[in-house]
């Protein structure tokens, strides 16, 4: 052993390299290639929608977002004047989605708390299946149910709300027509996003560190006291993230909203009135009789919707991941 040698030098960690065998190289190449399909698909969606919607975007400029007129007029000479503005649809989408959140978030959090902390084992198992099942219902079923079952009931609820809270602007309405309103569309959407928010919240609540739960109980907390002191602070991030995932779903929902909403190109905040906007539903409504220029506008609308949901989903996922990781 040569201790005399300049032994001060700290040994560098040796790099371990393996040369994978050919079969492994092929395997890795194939798997890696396929794993990029998500990237490819997402990029292609953006590229093609942009390509086909480009004319509209160029023609309408920022007005595509800020105007609320949607018309194609062909004059006698065959010259087409088109106005495409999404403002009413975008605002309508946001209004309906927030009504949905307003209903769904409390119900989901309560359900998640009930499932995690109150329900007896048997009830819990059944209810968890039921909630998961809800997520598997086709959206057209929600549309059908919303139109034929919910709407008659919700019309009555809307009348009640108007009767007692009509003095507030958003619960007032110009004509007593309560069907196919943003309110009803919001309720249908809320039922659709409840399973998403509930299952995310439940997962986060179930991860509440047991030692903190015990600490609260050992200090003489009731179950509710424990939930407030420990579970809700811990799970808040998950609830927010789950709600945003639900919001993303609500933004993009099409046929269910279409069935129960009267789409009108006018910004309307009176949620009980039969007049609302929704980008996704508007696309299928206009699709049937759309000429080439309108198809381009619908493509552009699809692009806006795509970017919007992508953005909300991105935020939601980063919130959920962060809360689960930080353990807070």
């Amino acid at each position: 052993m040569s201790i005399d040698a300049p032994a001060k030098a700290i040994p560098q960690p040796r790099k371990i390299t393996t040369k994978p065998r050919v079969s492994d190289q092929i395997f890795r190449a194939i798997v890696t290639a396929f794993s990029f399909s998500a990237l490819v698909i997402l990029s292609l969606i953006a590229i093609f929608l942009l390509m086909k919607g480009f004319n509209t975007l160029k023609q309408q400029g920022i007005g595509f977002i800020t105007n609320f007129e949607w018309s194609v007029v062909v004059d006698d000479g065959g010259v087409e004047t088109a106005h495409f503005g999404l403002q009413a649809m975008l605002i309508g989408t946001v209004v309906i989605s927030f009504i949905a959140l307003f209903i769904a978030v409390p119900l989901s959090v309560l359900t998640a708390l009930f499932l995690t902390f109150y329900a007896p084992e048997r009830v819990k198992r059944i209810l968890v299946t039921v909630v998961d099942l809800m997520a598997a219902f086709p959206s057209i079923l929600y549309g059908l149910w919303g139109f034929f079952v919910l709407m008659p009931m919700a019309e009555y609820w809307a009348k009640l709300i108007h009767k007692w809270l009509g003095w507030i602007y958003i619960f007032d309405l110009p004509d007593p027509i309560y069907t196919r309103s943003p309110f009803i569309a919001g309720i249908v959407l809320s039922v659709m996003i409840i399973p998403i928010i509930t299952s995310v919240s439940r997962e986060v609540f179930a991860q509440t560190p047991l030692d903190r739960v015990q600490a609260a109980y050992a200090l003489g907390a009731t179950k509710w006291g424990m939930i407030r002191a420990v579970v809700l602070p811990f799970g808040a991030g998950g609830v927010v993230g789950g709600s945003m995932l639900g919001l993303g779903r609500a933004f993009g929902e099409t046929v269910a909203v279409f069935s129960v909403l009267n789409i009108v190109f006018r910004t309307n905040f009176q949620i009980l009135f039969t007049q609302g906007g929704n980008v996704a539903s508007m696309i299928i409504q206009k699709w049937g009789e759309a000429g080439p220029s309108e198809v381009s506008a619908l493509m552009a609308a699809g692009l806006v919707l795509f970017i919007l949901t992508l953005f909300v989903n991105f935020l939601a996922n980063s919130v959920v991941t962060r809360t689960v990781k930080s353990g807070r």
Binding site: D211, R212, A215, L219, G220, R328
Partner: protein
């Protein structure tokens, strides 16, 4: 069943317990010691905590069999024994934390100042206010500040306190943490070291003024320096309350406790083999198994 020591301490109510198969553990020394205790078994300490014929089950598994132990007011009792001997289960039956594990059951009585804490209709949260607990791993609430942590029990139990600041200082001082944190009470508890966090948990438990403090291996996650600080804290606290501490560390039991109870499981349910003044358990235990354990022959 071959129970090593069966001595009747002449305590009539122990014998009269129906669920108990007339097998009181050796409590004579404890009872005798109670006489020379600093506080004469009266308020504010109460008369202490007493377990009578306590059994515990996890589903079908019988984890703890027939433990009767008397924790006199103002004493420190150490529960020692190898892993799986039921000592942690036992300490959790003492403030009704046992029942949080699904499918558990128990038998016997636990008396606080002579009243059964398992009495039907009793408000269990009030029991846990009087019998505080400190856990193996420090578990302060990370979303709260240091000050909020200490006062969290007050808030959770909705107690009325005249002067929060005073209580805060008192509890942190008794837990031996005041000087270290007095300038950063508004800081989050996560920034404290492990030992400080554990003392914060002790302060938190003290804030609701419990008569009894249960400590389930409070130092097992800490370094030796922090362990020493906690032990000092325990000695300080023992002047004013009854303490039960589970520990794996026999030196620790010897250092901090007045009495020691030895638990063992011979493959069946855990049992209490022997209890007595700590010095005697460590110097001349009556049971061979106790001797084997304290001399380090197994466990």
């Amino acid at each position: 069943m071959n129970t090593p020591v069966k001595e009747n301490d002449g305590n009539g109510n122990l014998m009269s317990d129906q669920t108990n198969n007339a097998r009181p553990s050796s409590l004579s020394d404890v009872s005798a010691n109670r006489e020379r205790n600093k506080v004469g078994g009266t308020a504010p300490l109460g008369t202490g905590l007493e377990a009578r014929g306590v059994h515990a089950w996890f589903d079908k598994h019988h984890a703890l069999s027939d433990v009767s132990l008397d924790f006199s007011a103002g004493t420190v009792t150490a529960l020692i024994g190898p892993s799986g001997c039921g000592k942690s289960t036992f300490i959790r039956t003492l403030n009704r934390m046992h029942e949080f594990i699904p499918k558990t059951s128990m038998a016997g009585q636990v008396l606080l100042d002579g009243k059964d804490i398992y009495e039907p209709g009793i408000d269990v949260t009030k029991i846990r206010l009087q019998i505080g607990m400190v856990f193996q791993k420090p578990n302060p609430f990370p979303s709260m500040t240091i000050g909020e942590n200490v006062l969290s029990g007050i808030k959770l139990a909705q107690l009325k306190v005249d002067n929060h600041d005073e209580l805060l200082e008192e509890c942190l001082t008794r837990a031996g943490l005041w000087n270290e944190v007095k300038d950063r009470l508004g800081a989050h508890a996560g920034g404290l070291s492990g030992g400080q966090q554990q003392r914060l948990c002790i302060a938190r438990a003290l804030a609701v003024k419990p008569k009894v403090l249960l400590m389930d291996e409070p130092c097992s996650a800490l370094d030796p320096g922090s362990t020493l600080r906690i032990e000092e804290t325990i000695s300080q606290l023992s002047k004013s309350m009854t303490i039960v501490i589970v520990t794996h560390n026999m030196q620790q039991a010897a250092r901090v406790s007045d009495y020691t109870a030895f638990f063992l499981s011979d493959g069946g349910p855990g049992q209490m083999i022997e209890v007595g003044p700590t010095t005697e358990i460590f110097s001349r235990p009556r049971d061979e198994r106790t001797e084997n354990y304290v001399t380090g022959r197994f466990g």
